[in-house]
Symmetry: C2
Subunit: 415 residues, 2 copies
């Protein structure tokens, strides 16, 4: 039976909403690699009674409890002491940690205050997990068949410690590792994806299939464990093949990557340069492409022609086209993308013009026209998106990227 993991995050800043619990997300994403499943997340404040209560409850329902936060030197950092007490363990000084902390302060040229020495005390019998990025080491306690792991809160400390200590610890113990692959789909809604995959999903236990939709992209997770002689990887790739044959070229990746990365790779592989002409999206497409390290290999420039007159000034769009067909029209989108190609001299370009809201006069909010020019391909398409301004802009960018992808792969436009 699969071991159940619970992540117990300690910190009032989480309960005040000052930060999102990205530590729980990070740990949850990584543990399936070593055959563990996360069944619960909990968050509790820096309060000894409530933390004790949460720990006991976590141990009653989970096999592994990983705490994050509360290992620092300040008064409200109390995780280690509270958990030691709850488990009936004494706190003992670890000479090596003491030395290490003293050295750390010397190296940083800072004065060590007494409360920093608290970080060298640990529950007796635990395994100390050193922290190369900060002064708070973590620890791992094995007790009555359960494992309790204490990690610090700052992600830049937690992440390397997790990689260095936790993954190897569980990999050694792992009996039946899980394998997951993530397909991503663009241009089909989540309920339609589920409907199409119903016969595959229904009653399926190995692999399991789960879908998740965000911002116009549906992610399909396929997870399996070894089944007798059949390795998990084979079960997963078989299932992914079946899904791909049902969903066709709407599946843009089987590698859980953002669509801008897929487009970037296609451009780079084909040695093509890329530019964009944006109106309602205001630079969002350019921002997404340039978020990729190394994007300067393919991305040349963008013109964000937000006011109507800029479309003429920056892209030479004929004002009579705008007047005749409207600023949000296939004709204007086509003139924008053609202007961009001419002005920038890039191989591939995309244009977006639309009404993202708020409502002015009787503009049809959600109407967006997107044009693409690529070698041997010129397409323009009109969309009607629903949702608020942010969603309309995001869907515009996702669909523009999908149109570029389809143009580069010589696929038919999506329905």
């Amino acid at each position: 039976m699969q071991k159940k993991v619970e992540i117990l995050s300690v910190g009032t800043e989480l309960l005040m909403g000052q930060i999102a619990n990205t530590n729980a997300q990070f740990i949850s994403r990584r543990l399936p690699e070593v055959g563990l499943g996360v069944f619960y997340h909990s968050v509790v404040g820096d309060n000894p009674e409530r933390l004790t209560e949460c720990l006991h409850y976590a141990l009653s329902r989970s096999d592994v409890v990983i705490t994050t936060g509360g290992l620092g030197p300040t008064q409200d950092d109390l995780t280690k002491e509270v958990i030691a007490k709850a488990l009936g363990l004494k706190m003992v000084l670890d000479i090596q940690s003491e030395e290490w902390i003293r050295e750390y302060f010397t190296k940083m040229g800072k004065t060590m205050t007494d409360n920093n020495l608290r970080q060298a005390y640990f529950p007796e019998g635990c395994k100390i997990l050193d922290n190369d990025e900060g002064t708070a080491p973590g620890c791992l306690i094995e007790q009555k068949g359960k494992v309790i792991i204490l990690l610090p809160g700052p992600p830049r400390e937690l992440i390397p410690m997790f990689n260095k200590h936790i993954i190897p610890y569980f990999r050694e113990k792992c009996a039946t590792p899980l394998t997951s692959r993530f397909l991503r789909v663009v241009g089909i809604g989540e309920s339609m994806v589920e409907k199409k995959l119903y016969s595959l999903v229904d009653g399926q236990t190995n692999p399991t299939i789960a879908t998740y939709a965000k911002d116009g992209i549906v992610t399909i997770r396929v997870t399996a464990h070894d089944e007798g002689e059949i390795p998990a990887t084979l079960l997963v790739s078989d299932m992914c093949g079946k899904i791909a044959s049902i969903l066709g070229d709407s599946v843009y990746t089987d590698n859980d990557e953002e669509i801008e990365l897929t487009v970037f790779k296609l451009l780079a592989e084909n040695n093509l340069t890329f530019s964009c002409a944006e109106s309602c999206t205001g630079g969002m497409l350019a921002e997404k492409i340039t978020s990729i390290p190394g994007s300067s290999q393919v991305f040349k420039c963008a013109a964000v022609t937000y006011m109507t007159v800029s479309k003429t000034e920056m892209l030479d769009v004929d004002p009579t086209i705008i007047e005749k067909y409207g600023v949000v029209s296939k004709e204007t989108a086509l003139a924008m993308v053609q202007g961009m190609i001419k002005k920038s001299g890039t191989d591939v370009a995309v244009s977006i013009t639309g009404y993202a809201g708020p409502q002015y006069d009787d503009e049809p909010v959600g109407k967006v026209c997107i044009g693409v020019c690529a070698p041997g391909c010129r397409t323009v398409k009109e969309f009607r998106f629903s949702g608020n301004r942010d969603r309309i802009r995001t869907l515009s960018v996702i669909n523009a990227l999908d149109m570029v992808r389809r143009a580069l792969l010589h696929l038919d436009p999506a329905e």
Copy 2:
């Protein structure tokens, strides 16, 4: 005694680490406004037994339980049914919701599948919370002195529903309302802010002061309750005045607003148009400004001149300047912003050129030059930011916006 709130998020995608629990963060941040404190977050998968168990546990330790997720039309959306069963309530069809869902599909020109109708069934006696952004309404159940609220998972649905239904519901019930105000500071780090405010923060119980740093902005929350005759609002505004006098013009808002909104308002009040010339930020500044509804009132255009040659092609930057001083230099930043003003004819412009990483050759990653032109003001500044690519880009945009703000307010540049 303060009511305890628990946020119970339902969704395997959270336990798989596909998304961070930003809903819990959002709700936690907002509830103190209506006098409520969040004591626990929990996350459980789409599993009826475990969800039932978590609900009972939450009700045993909290007064208000807010669930997020699992209200959609798919098979694994089971929150409503499971919670109704756990509370001993029947599910009944709500005719109005049925009509509304049918209308929604007609309006979208989509076919309604049978599973969508599940969204019109609710636990008997509950208050239905309509959802203007999707097909899954939420609901609110009062039972045995406890309040159970079911909200959908997608933030673009949850956030408006929370604002429309949940805040007013609790505001009406709130005995000792808290008043909060959020100041925001740009250009000073969190530990420096804390140091400067130490004498105000130390031992302070009403108002309380908390700081929180993200992406180059430090937010300071000041929260108070009425103190005898003195109203909370007065206590808060007094404290905000003290903080502002210590931190000076680094405080850009006392209204918890993004800095792009502050800049947008300054531009709009002064009837000034705005354009930007971006290199390493790749359109991020334009995207931020145009995320504001109504930004077309001030924002004209942006040139994202990512490749060096585009700086000359789009902004007429003299190539000899780039050759002599380098593409990331004050001189190039100045030529970019001046080129933008000339080309676009706007009143105010900003330029950003920098090395955001990854490291090529011996480029100094983190070096960013920003130029601003505004009526009666021309400034250019060199920064050295640390962190990864995303952080360097974000800090570049925040500081560019701050330079525009200072130019518009005729303030000295920040230290």
